[in-house]
């Protein structure tokens, strides 16, 4: 429930003494409590953008604010939930202990935070509380890291291709769960995804990025009603939005194929 403002942000990496731009002049506004999707080809800077918002990286140009303050403030107040592209669980901790890690770091009373046991149930891992990450499939590990990201009721939830390792059916189920959690908590969510359908299904707006250099090319507002249901995906309105995202992703390429 914090607004995120990205104002003319650029990020360059130093590679072999040369400065290589990963993101150029990105300006975006994620309204408090909204759900946003970032989509684009590999290497267009989606992960870099999330890392900038989470204060893992500092921008080379421009300014990012969360709730009007620098991202470092939100981070130090434990207000950011981050689901990494790879599950990044601590291998010596059980499922439940991994989910409790953020609570141990933030300290203080549990308050209205969700109980770790209920988070385990939420991501469908009841019975695996005491399993070690090595005993879980990639998809299950990713679900643990989603539960972990939700443990502190973050005001900002950043998800970097969280469902990439999941099969289609589990993924749909997780998407619906995620929407339910998001609506319940009122967190501002930013989802990086490869899948056009997923982006449209989840988001209030889909931001399309292009590579070399990473930049914003288009924003598609998704004015579909909420709560979203699976049947929505078969409506013409949904397909029209999917096509608009596809057009933004492929640009001229798509036009050529249609002509020929």
């Amino acid at each position: 429930m914090s607004e995120i403002v990205i104002d003319r942000v650029g990020k360059a990496f130093e590679i072999d003494g040369k400065s290589v731009p990963a993101l150029v002049d990105v300006s975006l506004r994620f309204e408090a409590g909204g759900f946003y999707a970032l989509i684009g080809p590999s290497g267009c800077g989606k992960s870099t953008l999330l890392r900038l918002i989470a204060d893992i990286l500092a921008p080379t140009d421009g300014v990012i604010t969360i709730g009007g303050q620098p991202p470092g403030v939100a981070r130090r107040q434990h207000e950011i939930g981050f689901v990494f592209q790879e599950a990044s669980l601590l291998p010596w901790r059980s499922v439940i202990d991994n989910i409790e890690l953020p609570l141990e770091i933030a300290g203080g009373p549990v308050g209205d935070r969700p109980r770790p046991e209920s988070l385990v149930r939420l991501v469908g891992l009841s019975g695996f509380e005491n399993a070690k990450p090595a005993q879980l499939s990639g998809g299950m590990q990713q679900r643990v890291s989603i539960a972990r990201a939700l443990a502190l009721r973050p005001k900002v939830l950043l998800l970097d291709e969280p469902f990439g390792a999941l099969d289609e059916i589990t993924r749909q189920r997780m998407n619906l769960e995620l929407l339910r959690i998001w609506q319940e908590t009122g967190t501002t969510a930013v989802l990086v995804t490869h899948t056009i359908g997923e982006a449209v299904f989840m988001a209030d707006a889909v931001h399309v990025l292009a590579a070399r250099p990473g930049r914003l090319v288009d924003t598609i507002e998704v004015d579909l009603p909420r709560p979203r249901r699976l049947a929505l995906m078969q409506t013409p309105e949904f397909n029209r939005l999917e096509n608009r995202v596809r057009a933004a992703l492929f640009g001229d390429e798509l036009a050529e194929t249609a002509d020929g």
Binding site: A54, I56, R75, H78, F84, L90, P102, E104, I105, K132
Partner: protein
Amino acid sequence: MTFSMRMLGPALKSLVMPAAIALVLVALWKAVVVVFAMPAYLLPPPEAALGAFEKDAAKIGLAVFHTVRNAAAGLLVAFVLAILLAALFVSSQAVTRAVLPIVIMLRTAPVLAIAPILIMIFGRGIGTAIVVVVIVSFFPIMVNAMRGFSSTKRSALELMHVLGAGPVKTFVKVRLPFALPFIFTGLRSAATSALLAAMLAEWLSGAPGLGTLILDAASYRKTPLLWAAVVVSMVMAFAVFALTSAAERRFTSWRT
């Protein structure tokens, strides 16, 4: 019942092999004595060593106590020092450049040469023993700990960062656990050399212990006692190795 049997199984199994090897060694020892008609002042038969062991059990026990106490105390100091230094070195390049050369110099200084100085400063008792043990055994722990601390997965560090964890929590909850397998590798080699170092310190300072016992037995030609003490020190080294290995398995079982 079955559960405790299963727990006992590996422990028993890990004792069977060493016991068998020990038996073969003793048999070989006896064979050498018989076949080459060894004079007892060079190599007494095993049963003579056993006799000496029984006769001087209290004396040997006291010597073992002194040596093990000194080695353990020195190892503890070395461990704390090594972990602190390693943590410091991986977190600051400047400190590494300033302090690491001094550490390496200390490491390469021959203990024999600086022994008189150490005895002057730390006396003939446990002080000098601890310092000698520290000099010999802290280096492998430190080097391995440094490797361990810098082996932490980047994603785990980024996670701690996003969660707003400070350097202390990041160290305790992520860096240290990730480094444990490396630390145990260092600890295992340090623990066995700590025993040797404790005996070396006794040789240098004349303080009581297994090393001094061996030296005295040799100079008074008490060969059976000498060999009893040698066997005891070998068993001790093996016990230390087995103990640290068991601790390693206990604390790093997640690696499998």
